[in-house]
């Protein structure tokens, strides 16, 4: 349990689950949840490298902090977009938002 590869695999699994969700969910909120999962996978990766390989333990933690900040910003924007979309379409199904159809 105490090896880099284990953590990398966990992060990878988390990432792929998130991606699977991002690709197949139709609810916009579901997609946001999946994105959060992927971001967390990235955070785990940072921390793992920080723990096992990195030169300075503080750097990886700071990176993860920044990821959290970005995630918070992203969530705020995405949720307000969800609201706007819902007001416009009375639905948050991404398949209904097809104004950009060619």
């Amino acid at each position: 349990m105490n090896s880099l590869t284990v953590y990398l695999f966990v992060a990878l699994l988390l990432f792929c689950i998130g991606m699977f969700g991002l690709l197949q969910r139709r609810s916009l909120i579901g997609m946001i949840i999946s994105i959060e999962l992927m971001l967390n996978a990235a955070g785990i990766n940072f921390m793992a490298f920080n723990r096992f390989l990195g030169p300075d333990p503080a750097v990886g933690q700071i990176m993860v902090l920044f990821i959290m900040g970005i995630a918070a910003a992203e969530a705020a924007i995405a949720l307000s977009l969800t609201l706007a979309l819902f007001r416009k379409l009375r639905s948050i199904n991404i398949e209904h938002a097809r104004d950009l159809r060619g």
Binding site: M1, L4, T5, F9, V10, L12, L13, L14, F15, C16, I17, G18, M19, F20, G21, L23, Q24, R25, R26, I29, G30, I32, I33, S34, E36, L37, N40, I44, M47, R51, F52, L53, G54, P55, D56, P57, A58, V59, Q61, I62, V64, F66, M68, G69, I70, A71, A72, A75, A76, I77, L79, S80, L83, A84, F86, R87, K88, S91, I92, N93
Partner: protein
């Protein structure tokens, strides 16, 4: 019987058990966050998964980040998502059936990504960098954030500020687009 059980509850076994529990929280929560149709279940799954990630952070040596994970993700982002769900009322909307091909293709694509990353993880000869510091303390984090990473810190604050303003404007504009129309309608009615 007790000694028999006791002989299994050795510290390393407990440690393994706890670690697998954390892994289970993480991955199981992730699956719950993605697979069920009900959006509320998804949010709970997400929260579970994030708690698991916080546990992993503790294993990786940073209690501070684990605390932050719970505070920010579970405490803030999940609550925000719940708010969004309540405001956009997807609960009462009927949930359309899943399209099988879409699920299938998503799975295939994710699988391809998984395979390629696995190959990379396995093949790469990871090397330990020269340690320049071994201080995991929060104090050092704070010092670094206000000295070497000050610019990034300021930048991330700015991004957050802008995103909040943007979120407010997006939500408010969307509602005000709606509002004049409805008011017009009322006036017409009167």
């Amino acid at each position: 019987m007790q000694p028999v059980i006791a002989q299994y509850i050795r510290p390393e076994v407990v440690a393994y058990a706890v670690f697998f529990f954390v892994l289970l929280l993480t991955l199981g929560g992730a699956l719950i966050a993605v697979i069920p149709k009900s959006i509320i279940h998804n949010v709970f799954g997400l929260a579970t998964s994030l708690v698991g990630v916080a546990g992993l952070f503790i294993y990786l040596g940073s209690e501070f980040l684990a605390m932050m994970e719970i505070l920010i993700y579970v405490g803030a982002i999940c609550i925000a998502i719940v708010f969004a769900i309540m405001l956009s009322q997807p609960m009462h909307l009927q949930i359309p059936p899943r399209l099988r091909p879409k699920v299938f293709f998503s799975f295939v694509v994710s699988l391809v990504v998984f395979i390629s990353f696995t190959v990379m993880v396995v093949r790469t000869p990871w090397e330990q960098a020269v340690r320049t510091s071994n201080d995991w303390g929060v104090k050092r984090l704070g010092t670094l954030l206000l000295t070497r990473y000050e610019l990034l810190f300021e930048l991330i604050s700015l991004v957050l500020l802008m995103s909040i303003i943007g979120a407010v404007i997006t939500a408010a504009t969307a509602s005000s687009e709606k509002a004049p129309g409805s008011r017009d309608g009322e006036e017409d009615g009167v």
